[in-house]
Structure formats: C-alpha cells, structure tokens
Symmetry: C2
Subunit: 504 residues, 2 copies
Amino acid sequence: MKPGFLVFAICVLSSVATAQTNPVAEAARRWRQQHERPILEEFVSLLAIPNVSSDRANIQRNAERLVQMMQARGIQTRLLSVADANPVVFGQMTTPGATRTIIFYAHYDGQPLDPKEWASPPFTPTLRDKRLEQGGQIVPLPSGSTRINPEWRLYARGAADDKVPIMAILSALDAIRDAGMKTRSNVKFVFEGEEEAGSVNFEKILAANRELVAGDVWLGCDGPMHQTRQQSLTFGDRGIAGVDLTVYGPLNELHSGHYGNWAPNPAMMLAKLLASMKDDGGRILIDHFYDDVEPLSNMERRAIADAPDIGPILMRDFGLGSTENSPKTLAELITLPSLNIRGMASSRIGAQASNVIPTTATASIDMRLVKGMDPSKTINQFVEHVQKQGYFVVDAEPSADVRKAHPKVARVVRRRGGEIPWRVSMDLPALQEVIRIVENARGKVIKIPNSGGTGPDVALRVLGIPPIGVPIANHDDNQHSFNENVRLQNLWDGIELMAALLTM
Amino acid sequence: MKPGFLVFAICVLSSVATAQTNPVAEAARRWRQQHERPILEEFVSLLAIPNVSSDRANIQRNAERLVQMMQARGIQTRLLSVADANPVVFGQMTTPGATRTIIFYAHYDGQPLDPKEWASPPFTPTLRDKRLEQGGQIVPLPSGSTRINPEWRLYARGAADDKVPIMAILSALDAIRDAGMKTRSNVKFVFEGEEEAGSVNFEKILAANRELVAGDVWLGCDGPMHQTRQQSLTFGDRGIAGVDLTVYGPLNELHSGHYGNWAPNPAMMLAKLLASMKDDGGRILIDHFYDDVEPLSNMERRAIADAPDIGPILMRDFGLGSTENSPKTLAELITLPSLNIRGMASSRIGAQASNVIPTTATASIDMRLVKGMDPSKTINQFVEHVQKQGYFVVDAEPSADVRKAHPKVARVVRRRGGEIPWRVSMDLPALQEVIRIVENARGKVIKIPNSGGTGPDVALRVLGIPPIGVPIANHDDNQHSFNENVRLQNLWDGIELMAALLTM
C-alpha cells in the first residue's frame, strides 16, 4: 500500500472520528473554541514547573499548583503521601444520588532529561508551527481571539506525558459547567507524582487510602493514542524490568597498540554478550524468557486483527528500512515481551576518543513484560543467561581481586521500579460502558489488549478496580526523549472526550 | 609462577641493568644527581604548555619553547613545516671530522583528553609519591638539594608520551659537556608536533627537507620501555587504521514500550555487528584480514622467545582474569594485527538514561597492522565485512531516504592518520652498533621485532635511514589515557642512555 494512500486514510479516519453528535462533546468543543488562549496559558504555566521525578522541590511545586487549579474548580483536594514519596494529588467531586464512582488517573512527573539535547529549554514551553523534524518554527501564542492552528505543537517535558490529560480534564469541567451540564457519577482524581520513577511508592499510598480512592472504573489517562490518530482504549500495560549491565576489562585504560589483542576489550565483550541475547530476527534467546507469557483470548486476537496496521506509515515516519520480528505487526508485538538496549557506553567516541582499551562497557537495558511474567523472575533469567556466557556475575562494583579471579566479570544492577504487567478482560460490564461512551463521543475506537508502555496495575491489584487506558496524546510526541511535545488538536479532542467521561 | 617471584625478578633485572661501568653514563648519573631539581623545573615548565595536537596556538608555544631550550644549549635550531602543519622542531650539532650522523626523533604533541577525567589538571604538572592507582599523594618538589625519590611520578599530558626523551636528551647534553666529553658523530634532532594526530604532514615535511634531515641512524625516542623495566629496543612499529562505525535505528528516539521489539535497536545491531568481527578467543574474523601479514624471521622469533613473559605480572597489575588469543604471549601478539574498540556509545546510560530506543550507535575502532599490511586495504576489508553482514554502507550521514531504503545502514568513516606498519632487520650494522652502545650503558636489552604502538616509518621509507626504537618511559604511564605520568627513575636512566648515544 502506498504511504500517500495511508496519509489520506488517516485524515478520513480523523474526520469520521470527530463527526459525532454527542451533545456533551459538542458543548465542550464550542466552549474550547472560545477559550483556546486561556486554556493554553494555564497549560503553559503548569508545564513551566520542572517535573523530573527526582527533583523533589519542583515536584512539590507541581503538586501545589495542581491543588490550586483543582480547588479553583471546586474540587475537594488533598495530597496523599508516604515517607520519601512524591505526593499523589487527590481530588473528588461528590454527585448527589450517584451510584457509580469514576476515577481519573494521570501523572504529573516526567522522565529525566539532558537539556543540551533539547531545541528549546524543556521547561520553557514553546509553541511550534509543526514538528521540529518537519522544520517546525517557533510561533508566539496568538493574541486575543486569533485562531490557533490545531496542528501546532507545544514543546515541553510533560506536555504529552502526562500533563495533557490533566489539562483536558480540568478544561472539560469548565466546559460542562459553562453549558449547565452536570456529573452523574461521583468523580475522583488521582494524579501521581513518580510514575516515571517506576511508581515506587504508589501502591503504598493507595493501600494507605483504600476507602478514599475506592471506585468502580479507573480511567488511566496516560500514554499516546494510536498512530492513526483514531481514538484508542487499552486494557492492560506491559510491565517492565530494568538492569544495568557492566563488563570489565583492565583496571586502567591501556594503550591499544601495546596491549591490543592481548588485553580483553570490555566493549567487545559487551557486544558479544548483548548479541547472545537476541537472534537476528529479534527473538529473545534468554532461556525460559517466554515461558510465562499468557496467551491472548479470542476477543483480544480479534481486536488485534481489527486494528489498522500502521507499520508501513511508521516505518516511513521513523526512517526505518526494516523491523524486528517481521512479519508480526506492531499491534501483535506489543502483546509480547521485549528486550531493549536503552543506552550503551564505553570510553569515548568522536573527538574525545583516544587509542585505548576501555576499562568497562555498560549497557542500560529495559525488558517489557506481558501478562503472566514477573519482573524479578525475568531478571533472574537475565542473570542466568549472563552466567551461561561464562561470566561471574556481581551486583556491586567488583574489586580488583574479583576481576583477577575470574576470566569474565559482569555486574548486573537491578534498577528500582520494576512493574508487573497486567491485562483485563474487555467484556467486563464497566469497561463495556466506557467503550460505549467513548465511541459515542469520538467515533469507532481501536481496542488494544495491552499498551506497549508501562502503567501501574495497582488499581486492579490493590483496589480491585478494573482499569482502562484512555490515551489522548499524539503518538509522535517524543515521549521519554528530548523535544517532547503535544499536538494542540489532541488537547482539543481530549477535552471533548473527558467531558463525555466526566458526565457518564 | 607466583607473582611475588616475578616482582623480585624485576628488581634483580633492574639492578643488573644499571650496574654498568660505562664512563659516559656514569658521568651523566653524577651530573644528574647534582641537578635533579633544575632538571625537573625545566621539565615542568615544558609540560605546563598544553600540547594536544589540534590546539594550534599552544603547539606553536611548545615549538618556540623547544627552540629556546635547544638554542640555550648551542644547538642550531629551526622550525620545519608545510601548510596547515604543526612544525617539526629541527636541530643539529656538527662535529668536526665526524663520519656518522645520528638523528634523535621524539614528538612534543600529545593525545586528546577530557580534563574532567584527570585527578589533577593535565597541564598543571603534578608530582605524586607513587602511582595514583596505588594511592599516590601529591608531593611538592623538594627544595634545595633534598633527595628526590626516584619512584615518584610526574603527572601531565605528554610527561611520558613523548616529552620525557626530549628532556633526557637535553639534560644528557648538559651532562656530557659538564664532564668535558664530546660528541663523535654529527647529531640531529627531529621533534615532531603532530604524531598523535597521525603524523599527517610528517612525510611532506621530511621530503621537503631531505638533505637537512639526512643521516645514518634514526633513534626513535618514543613509547614505553618493557614492563620489566629492563631496557628494550624496537625495530619496527605496528601500523594503524582507524574507523568510526555508526549504525542507524529510528530517526528519533522512540518510546521503548510502544515500539520495543518492533523498531530495530541500533545498539543491538552494533553489538551483533561488532560480535561478528572476532571469535570468542580474540581472532579477527574479517575475511583476508591476516593474508598479508609478513612472517617473522628466525632472528625475530628468537628475540620473542628470549623476551621475558611478563603476562602474569601484567594480568595482576591490570586486574585481568583472562587474556585474548591465549596461549600466545604478549611479545608474540604485538607482532600480529589487532582490532580494538576504543569507544562505544548509544543514547545515554546511568542517571541520564531513559526508556528509549536509540537513534544511532557508534563504535570507534582502531586496527593495528603489522608489516605487510596496508591501512587502506584493511579498511576496505572492514567495509566488505560490514556489507557481508547485510549493511548498506555509506561514508557520510545517510539521509532519511537512504535509511528507509535499506534494511540495515552503516556509516564507516575512515579516520585520518592511518600509518603503514614497518619492521627492519635487527642485523643491519648500524643497528648492531646501537645495540652495542645501549647494552654497554644499560645492560642486556630486550629486542622487540616491532612495538605494539605506532610510529612513523618515514625515516625508512622517505629518507632510507634505518630506524630503531629507543624507549625510556615507564610502561605503566597511562599513555594515551587520563593521568599520564612518568616515573622519575625512567627520566634519570634516560639521561644516562641518551648521554651514551650522543657520544657514540
């Protein structure tokens, strides 16, 4: 299929999706069209507060700002926390006579970053007239009632992941109130502050506030929408297990002339070790890695078959001439586990490089898990694999004596923040109702058995509330990388969607 | 053999080596013992001038300082250069009635560096009471005639590689004059300024000054001595060919959850590509890589067999539990070619890492060549190997279209400064005479067919002068890396050796 045709197809799908006649969504659209500038001003002011999870002082400022924004809308708000945790911003609106409680989840913290990689400072929210990769130029926020092009992008850490749903929810509240509409359910808000640090305290915080956060449906407002821009819903998340793997060469860098092909080179050792972990097609070769993968149900298989295959378009967008695990589609592949090298380093490259044998080589690895798999067990399998390649494995920096005592030494550090994969059945009545509301507001949805990304399963595991993923960010948002951005139309559509969900 | 025994063996060899009765060397020692402080002061002042090859302004300051130092000793001195080159500092002393011309070669430029990696600033020469790795502490230069411990180290870029021979030669001149001794040959000095940038202009400079630099023996005063600290002489150098290898993933970093095990990971691609280049023992698997290696002569084989096997001691010093290409010894292995990863990088590791699929992965590689091999041909074989692994190979940054058009794309950039390997026969009469003089001054020498490192072969190829390597720096000098240092005893011994060679 020609890429040109698919671009056309996206536009059609996009129009179809927004050609609804849902009165709440329509009211939200009218309100939004009259308030684009103040919405963006409030959003920019929220994004200007740095939100890297480890930056405690600024995380606190974010939480306090959210409290202000929510209280200004009459939401009863408080911070929930435990020792050494970033606070959860919790809010609730009680609806007289309501028999249902809906919980909107999002997170306000963001991934670590290196400002040098960003085209504009990550916490100086910057509008551009298109994607940077397509030559996007900085544009000012138009004054007064000048029309804002919905294809413009707002660049900032957290713009897409995951402050945009918070902005959409609060704007939707303004819109439904302006239209004289009311909530029919009790509504709660759970805005987490350390999702990007692996939600290390989230379970503790929820467990300590079970009654406060109890409810019937958990709307996980996080992650990007389907690449077609058609609304998607997800019924699970991949889990994650992270390791940092370091292998060791000489104690000091050695002259590559005097010792090259005698002293072992840790970069080459690492290359061979990593190469042993996947076959050329992309299948993971760690023993028992796939053993616990729970098979998909028939409904899940059908959902995957129904999802548009966006692979060819993405290959063009991403500049790829091949994919891993071909001919499986992306939709199917995210229901399988992965092993990804997220970074790798040994000595120096470029102008800083010199003719040495490095002392160490390190790869930072994340493994995405699917339902049935366990993060700890997976890391144990990883360690066993390294051992089977002849390595003596340690978990702390090895002494010179340890390095001398073993032909090959590797250090495997388990990163904090592993998460358990989860997937709920699409035919639970509460979830079927959400699907109906979303389709009514946004047209036919793509049902994804589990997101490729990671999200907390604690709603289900700790609280027993079935969660459903309701993403609104654009797929091409550079999430987790530099130059993260949100497309304005996604915020606008998100406001309509959230208005419909707030009044369900 | 127990390490303890070998340490003892080194001490014995060291004592034997310095127990000579050569009158010139003895005169040089007496003079040095009376002048240690001024020698070090002059050396420190030379080392304080930054000397990274690419730093043109400071390279010029180095050259001018050397001219001053040489003219102060009555050496006729001038700078030799061609367009865009760092100058060669040339000097000569004519001896009435001499029938032989000896050329002392050294270089005053140093390897690139990252100051952050150094324990003390690389151009603030710093004395330490032992190696940093053994807990060496900063000590002041003793005042007056206080004895200076010869095991102290002087830390600075260029301290060992390769300003120490220059300091030894000039100090030796002072010493022999003070003793009323005279040169018997004509003596010339060729101090190069861009050896660490691959001697890219050296051949041109020599060719443009053929008559000026003509002579009978070329003493290459560069590189470290044998690890036993016993005096060694080398009769060749490995050549070098450098490439930077980059493989390509998606155009932008992608979220490893949403695209992991679908989008190809360039770090994994690079790992597999590098792993394909060597077998587990360390033998290079690039087709025809070894085809042109010229076999060793019987004399060369004997020299290797006679050289002490320092492997076990080095393994202990370097914290190694294994070596490549076992059971071949280091002495033999440096007469074979190598392939070394000098640096590797993809996205970020440590606290800066995030859950992405990187866009590129790069390895910086140096291949050391031995006599018979050609740098260009070797790089061609390297490129063919990459192609045989399924890569489309480019030499410039590939466009998005090129990346889309090929399943796997690699960029191979040939670094400037490849050098041709060379080796001369040990039994040339001029070289036999140098061996005799050195053994007379410093005791039994270790004869090394070729150094593991790289040195210009132009003396032989352009000028037809047989070269011999006369190293004086300590082997554990962190040459080419951070915290480069010279052991003072090596400078002291070097003065005695140079005094003997200056008067041959």
